[in-house]
């Protein structure tokens, strides 16, 4: 009885191990990688490139997906074959760092500047706005009588 139970447990564990392994390393897909790598000759993202070298890159990706490699392993293979320029994200130091840093600094600064400018324009606009129209003052009774008399001359 104990021996039979042990055999069942062993069989179940054999069924479960590959499932657990698959869950730990999810399979990747071509579209998942295509938008993170470049066509090295065209300088455009692989997903929109149709050149011969782009097709060769896709073939390599498909081959490695078929071998069960992870997304990172495939990206490493692409770098080994085509150099770091194959990655859509700039890597390393020098100008590549500047490509990240300059927009990261300039865009918030530009947004801040635009906000300040908008605030200033709104204040200036409020200061220069024309005074609201006032209600016409009521005529005093003497002037009203004179106006009526003058206007009645046109009635006849």
């Amino acid at each position: 009885m104990t021996g039979r139970l042990a055999a069942v447990v062993a069989a179940l564990s054999l069924l479960l191990v590959p499932g657990a392994a698959l869950a730990a390393t999810p399979r990747t897909s071509l579209p998942d990688i295509e938008d993170e790598v470049m066509c090295v000759e065209c300088g455009t993202p692989l997903e929109v490139s149709q050149s011969p070298v782009a097709n060769q890159e896709r073939a390599l990706i498909r081959r490695e997906i078929a071998q069960g490699k992870t997304k990172q392993q495939i990206k490493d293979s692409l770098v080994a074959e085509y150099g770091a320029a194959v990655l859509a994200d700039p890597q390393g130091g020098g100008v590549n760092t500047a490509v990240w840093l300059v927009p990261a600094i300039l865009v918030p600064l530009a947004a801040l500047g635009a906000a300040f400018a908008a605030r200033r324009w709104r204040r200036q606009g409020a200061a220069e706005a024309p005074a609201p129209e006032r209600e016409p003052e009521a005529l005093d009774p003497a002037e009203a009588r004179r106006l009526d008399a003058e206007l009645s001359a046109f009635d006849s």
């Binding site: 090295v40 097709n55 073939a59 390599l60 085509y82 150099g83 600064l109």
Partner: protein, 181 residues
């Protein structure tokens, strides 16, 4: 009076323009070799240590000093490269008698596909791998294939930005075969 933000905005704009200018210059092609050859001068060929495509380890053009070399930038995904390979192989066999060689530079190419390509074309001359195009960039290469004739002193005496032809080889090969190191 200048606004408070004048200098920060000016410096930021200058930094952005500088970055764009650097990008343009760094990506631009170098035509100095073309100009020198057109003026009848020769140019020292750039050298770099690159991994061998068909073999282990690394190699360099410097190892061929003293030999006439036809340096050819190619890739297996480049259709015109396929067309010129038989002529390059015949040229390799022809200049080998004079101690010369064709030296291929396989650019931004998947190694497996490149080796399959060479086998299919029956190519026997050696090739080095320029996986990130840095070496051929120093030669002003902008497309594939491109070829350079390098004399025994390691100087470029002729270049062809496109597929080689028998006429071009007949006109220019003697320039590297007759020079002495």
């Amino acid at each position: 009076m200048r606004p408070r933000y004048y200098w920060p905005i000016t410096i930021a704009a200058a930094a952005l323009i500088g970055l764009l200018a650097y990008g343009l210059v760094a990506k631009g092609s170098d035509t100095s070799i073309d100009q020198a050859i057109a003026d009848g001068r020769t140019v020292a060929a750039p050298v770099a240590t690159l991994p061998r495509l068909n073999g282990a380890g690394a190699g360099s053009l410097a190892q061929y000093r003293g030999k006439p070399v036809l340096l050819n930038a190619w890739a297996s995904w480049c259709p015109p490269c396929k067309g010129e390979m038989p002529l390059l192989e015949r040229t390799h066999q022809r200049i080998a008698a004079a101690g010369g060689t064709v030296l291929g530079i396989d650019v931004q190419d998947d190694r497996t596909s490149a080796l399959r390509f060479l086998r299919a074309k029956g190519v026997t001359f050696p090739s080095l791998r320029d996986r990130d195009r840095a070496y051929v960039h120093s030669l002003g290469v902008t497309g594939y294939p491109e070829s350079f004739l390098i004399d025994r002193r390691g100087r470029i005496v002729a270049l062809n930005r496109g597929p080689v032809t028998q006429q071009w080889l007949d006109a220019n090969l003697p320039k590297i075969l007759r020079t002495r190191s």
